[in-house]
């Protein structure tokens, strides 16, 4: 049985101008200890997919259909208080802006301990010891000093390490990482990714990695889901996706990413991009019509594409 099984999930916003379908019928599974990447452009619904799993919703947002099974339980039907017991405990999430994810008026120690005391019923002494241990695990120099610091005294990379420590302190089965390195520079980004990979191995935590950066995805996950317009466009093992992406949207995404790689660009990857422009997948049309039908076509084992391509 999979750790996380999302079936036909629909997340809608009720606005004054009508319903916005942020996530519109997507399905995927994630095995325990594995990594799954969700990639797509801004507004493709990738973050809302993540938020739907633990139902961190705006007040006008709701799950309109589908189901989410986590560890054998249907958590899409859970009440708020049931979810509170799972959030931060069995499923943790880390956000894009580490600097603003910490409460400015409390010390790092207090915030780390709060999670442990709430979920693990630890005494404050035990919690302090565990907080120290977690900071060491995320490779922070001088944990004593950082524990006593306020968030504004930390750098971006340090704050993200603290956030990771906080997210992992209750040994979650699933860690959702919502663009965790976007706000960091490339060197710190590489360090954080390496750290997350190490901790993933060590603690056997499954990672749901949300990003628009294909480079990051290639290092972090086993499978990739490409989203556009609230739907899944293509899903495949990460190596297959990079080698033989089939859907024009995925190809464009990869082409856009590889544009900076001059050698690869000359091999004709960018050519595909322009070719696609001329055939039935005109980019404007692509957006206007929504991405694809709901039927998928299986290219190879584990490699599915939204089936409009099949008609070609």
């Amino acid at each position: 049985m999979s750790l996380l099984e999302v079936r036909e999930l629909q997340t809608y916003f009720d606005t004054r101008r009508g319903v916005v379908k942020a996530v519109d019928g997507i399905s995927f599974t994630l095995e325990s200890g594995k990594g799954l990447g969700i990639v797509g452009e801004s507004g493709s619904g990738k973050s809302q997919t993540a938020m739907s799993i633990i139902q961190l919703f705006q007040h006008n947002q709701r799950i309109a259909g589908g189901s989410i099974m986590f560890d054998g339980r249907q958590i899409s039907d859970y009440t708020d208080s049931q979810l509170e017991a799972i959030r931060g405990n069995e499923i943790s999430i880390i956000f894009q802006e580490p600097m603003s994810s910490l409460n400015p008026v409390f010390t790092v120690s207090k915030q780390l301990c709060e999670v442990l005391i709430t979920h693990q019923n630890m005494s404050s002494e035990d919690a302090k010891a565990k907080a120290y241990e977690m900071l060491k695990a995320v490779k922070i120099d001088q944990p004593e000093r950082v524990l006593k610091s306020y968030p504004h005294q930390l750098s971006g990379g340090m704050s993200q390490r603290v956030m990771i420590a906080m997210a992992l302190s209750c040994n979650p089965k699933l860690l959702i990482a919502d663009e965790p390195t976007t706000a960091l520079d490339v060197i710190i980004q590489a360090e954080i990714l390496k750290l997350m990979n190490e901790l993933k191995e060590k603690l056997n935590t499954a990672i749901l990695f949300i990003t628009h950066d294909l480079g990051v995805v290639s290092k972090m996950v086993d499978n990739v889901v490409v989203m556009h317009g609230g739907k899944i466009v293509e899903s495949a093992p990460v190596k297959v996706l990079f080698k033989s992406a089939k859907h024009p949207y995925t190809k464009r995404l990869i082409a856009a990413f590889l544009k900076t790689d001059i050698r690869r660009a000359n091999e004709g990857e960018t050519l595909d991009f322009f070719e696609a422009e001329n055939d039935q997948y005109d980019f404007q049309q692509f957006r206007d019509r929504g991405v694809a039908d709901d039927d998928f076509y299986q290219v190879s084992a584990g490699h599915m594409i939204a089936c409009r391509l099949k008609k070609k």
């Binding site: 799972i86 956000f95 603003s100 999670v115 709430t118 005294q153």
Partner: protein
Amino acid sequence: MRKREKLDQLAISGSLTPWQEVRYAISKDNRALIGLAFIAILVFIAIFAEFIAPYGMREQNLQNVLQAPTLQHWLGTDDLGRDVLSRIIFGTRTSLVIGVSAVSIALAIGGVLGLVSGYFKGIIDILIMRVSDVLLAIPSILLAIAIVASFGSGMFNMIVAIAIGNIAIFARIIRSSVMTVTERQFIEASHALGSSHFRILTKHILPNVLSPIIVQSSLGIAFAILAAAGLGFIGLGLEASVAEWGLMLSSGRAYIRTQTYLTIYPGLAIMLTILAFNMLGDGIRDAFDPKMRDR
């Protein structure tokens, strides 16, 4: 002196805690310090009024009615032969009690309403804010007069009347700060870590909206004291024998051409007290605002 230098060093290097920084900023602000010192003196006077005042609050000296300031009566006596200085001293207690308790009531009720409406938004917010719109549309002194006139005068009614006028103001200010804080990511992060609404409201939002609460409380006390004096002046305040600055002004009004000191000294007391609270309030506001702090 050592400690002071060390504090300067810490402040420059930015390693003070947020509260220390605010305290440091206030300690550098003469205006706020003067206000604070004056308020400290007022509090001392209010607590020990019996020991400081040369005469009792109701003590009459009918041989010396309407006497100009002398060595015996430093600020003179009123039309019933009561010592003006003593009555101003006892009046300090009345004013502070009214100011502090009216603001506490307003803060407790308005604060909860503001927190709830700013945090949960939606229909609750609309309801609370429309009611507070109605309250704000009525001039608060008029509202207080209406309440005292219909429920009768007396200390308690006066406090409640002034508090009600303040509730909407507190609810407004706290709601807007709560809304800003709620949008920030650490609130979402703490949802994601499994905190309940109650916990987030009390542990994460409340500490982050303390600065407007403190500033508004300080200014609110000044307003409440003024309102109490105003009610006293128009005769809707306390019974005539209780020492209250507004009441003293109003009873001295008849003698304003001949015995000026009957109105000047209570007036001065009101003015200085309100000035002190306003100075402190402004100072705290600047201390909480990093942009003002570095000037």
